[in-house]
């Protein structure tokens, strides 16, 4: 009966109640989306690279090196010479290396020059290997393997020709149109920046930057007589024979005499990133909680105003036998119902929003954001919301209780 009274009383004041529900739903959407995207960004970033012990690039900040080498965000300050790379990769403690050569693009998607070791050693998530959806690794100079998103978005299939552009702008006027590449493989989705990357051989990168318009064709094999050994690369990933030697190898690279280098541990660089992001996150969360507080105060004000309109109703309930605490509980229940409806609306809107923005977040920001918003954290937020709603409604409820006690005068 209390539920019916509360529900019908709210329905009777649908104008103000609806506005309160909307205010609370919007504040919850802000809070939950900030928190969800924050968590998902961390998960997404953390699962982008797995099993890589060190990332080596020219001397720059660890964060910059991590961002451009793994997440394709920003640009390198300088390149590493091929000689240095060859020397370091033949270090007895080094098990494997994946060279990375950046600088070109195709319709806004980054092109990464590498070797077939990328397909062998690169892991993401929980040491998950790269898998092919269709086709195979590149074997010729002008072969290209597409990330899942590139193939889907640009509607490419095997054997399609692709012309790379010099530079990384979405619109480029400097095209390598003398050397079109051929799609030989399309990768399965990984939820990492690999999905938005075009993978070509280092020789392919070298070839398009040489002035070989006349004597070099797209059919040239990798083992052709022409020397396509690159002079430099952007960075490289490194796997060691033993984790125990990580710091020793890192130190020796950082102190390398022939070239200024920087070796970073991906996990440590990510921690630096979260540290920098931490204060921004906290400010965003604080703003979100303040917005929620404002909506709770709005709820309290709406209920308080309604008590003044409901003297007759309260008097009636008292006279037919309702104890004063019953009136208190009806107002609390009304507040709880508003909170539950707001929560339901915010969850639906957030789920739909994330569902429709998933592709944009992935393509624009490289973020794999899950639509699953029913997490333990979300449950905690709802617990907090319910508790604060009860507290916020305590003032109008107490007012209703007092009205019930003294109204008879």
């Amino acid at each position: 009966m209390m539920f019916t009274l509360a529900r019908k009383s709210l329905a009777n004041r649908k104008g103000s109640v609806l506005l309160t529900i909307m205010a609370m739903a919007v504040s919850l959407i802000v809070l939950l989306s900030v928190d969800h995207i924050r968590q998902q960004t961390k998960t997404s970033f953390a699962s982008t690279v797995s099993g890589v012990d060190l990332i080596v690039g020219s001397r720059t900040s660890g964060l910059n090196l991590l961002l451009y080498s793994v997440f394709r965000i920003g640009n390198p300050t300088a390149n590493i010479s091929w000689t240095t790379y060859s020397e370091l990769s033949s270090h007895p403690k080094v098990a494997w290396t994946i060279p990375i050569s950046l600088g070109d693009s195709h319709k806004g998607y980054r092109v990464m020059g590498t070797t077939t070791d990328f397909f062998k050693h690169f892991k993401y998530g929980k040491k998950r290997p790269i898998k092919f959806d269709r086709g195979d690794e590149f074997s010729e100079v002008f072969d290209v393997v597409l990330g899942a998103k590139v193939a889907k978005r640009l509607n490419y299939s095997l054997n399609d020709p692709i012309v790379l552009a010099h530079g990384i702008a979405a619109t480029s006027f400097s095209m390598h149109d003398q050397h079109p590449f051929k799609v030989v493989g399309i990768l399965e989705p990984t939820g990492t920046p690999v999905d938005q990357t075009l993978l070509v051989s280092l020789e392919g990168i070298e070839a398009i930057h040489k002035n070989w318009q006349t004597d070099f064709t797209s059919q040239t094999k990798l083992d052709a007589e022409v020397d396509l050994t690159p002079k430099s690369i952007t960075a490289f990933m490194m796997g060691l024979t033993s984790r125990m030697s990580t710091f020793r190898v890192q130190r020796s690279i950082n102190q390398y005499q022939n070239e200024p280098l920087r070796a970073i541990l991906p996990g440590v660089a990510l921690s630096e990133l979260w540290q920098i992001m931490g204060s921004v996150e906290n400010i965003l969360l604080l703003i979100s909680y303040l917005v929620l507080l404002a909506s709770l105060l709005g709820l309290s004000a709406m209920l308080l105003a309604s008590i003044r309109e409901r003297h007759q109703e309260i008097q009636l309930l008292r006279v037919i036998g309702a104890p004063a605490w019953y009136i208190f509980l009806i107002v609390e229940l009304e507040a709880i119902l508003i909170a539950i409806i707001s929560t339901a609306i915010s969850l639906c809107v957030l789920w739909l929003g994330l569902f429709s923005l998933q592709d944009t977040l992935l393509s624009e920001f490289g973020l794999q954001v899950s639509g699953n918003i029913f997490t333990l954290k979300a449950l905690t937020v709802f617990g907090i919301l319910l508790a604060t709603t009860i507290v916020a409604a305590a003032i109008p409820s107490a007012m209703a209780y007092r009205t019930a006690k003294v109204i008879i005068k």
Partner: protein, 223 residues
């Protein structure tokens, strides 16, 4: 004895000079119907609030259905009122967004009596309320229909006492007569006592016992 008052004094301020109610002795027998008349503001409604236990009195004796209300806690008085006293008020006081049935149900729930929906239907039927209006919001009911619902709500728990506080003050003459006839018929049928207070002296024709409130309330005399 339905109501027995001895030397009852009550005022909202602690000073005896500010008493609103000062009744030496007053009684209401079982199945008796009394009409108390007096001008507005003379304390009639306060007496009804004291009898129904909504307001605790400060001194004297007041027993309702042989129960001393001063010995009860606030929640016991609420329960006692829900179980034994039916109330009809000025303006009939229905909750406008609830249907006729929903207006009646809380009264029985607070009394811990759980009449079936059929019992409520039978009561509304006996009050000649059209079945089509049972589930309409009471704001959509006519004044005559509202009167019937208000009486049904007062009678649902089969109370031994009904108190009516200016129930006809907002009714026109035709509705007033209809309401009074219906109320008196039902009170007689249910064998319950009735205290009706009003400033409208025309209502005295429905009662065998008519008293001026100022005759029984000495405090009223002082003022």
């Amino acid at each position: 004895m339905t109501v027995n008052i001895k030397q009852l004094r009550f005022g909202y301020s602690p000073s005896p000079e500010d008493s609103i109610i000062n009744i030496e002795s007053w009684k209401l027998n079982e199945n008796e119907q009394v009409f108390l008349h007096g001008p507005s503001g003379c304390g009639k409604s306060t007496l009804l609030n004291l009898i129904s236990g909504l307001v605790p009195y400060t001194s004297g004796d007041l027993s309702v259905l042989n129960q001393d209300l001063s010995r009860m806690t606030s929640s016991q008085r609420d329960r006692f009122r829900a179980n034994n006293i039916g109330c009809v008020f000025q303006g009939l006081n229905l909750i406008p967004y609830l249907s006729a049935i929903e207006n009646i149900q809380p009264a029985s729930r607070f009394a811990n009596q759980n009449p079936t929906i059929e019992d409520i239907h039978a009561l509304l039927d006996s009050l000649q309320l059209d079945a089509k209006s049972w589930r309409k919001p009471s704001s959509d009911l006519s004044m005559g229909q509202k009167q019937r619902v208000a009486i049904a709500r007062a009678l649902i728990n089969r109370p031994k006492l009904i108190i009516a506080d200016e129930p006809t003050s907002s009714l026109d003459q035709s509705n007033r007569n209809g309401f009074m006839q219906l109320l008196m018929d039902k009170v007689a049928e249910e064998h319950c006592a009735l205290i009706l207070v009003s400033h409208d002296l025309e209502l005295k024709s429905y009662f065998s016992r008519v008293e001026s409130f100022q005759d029984i309330n000495i405090a009223g005399d002082k003022s």
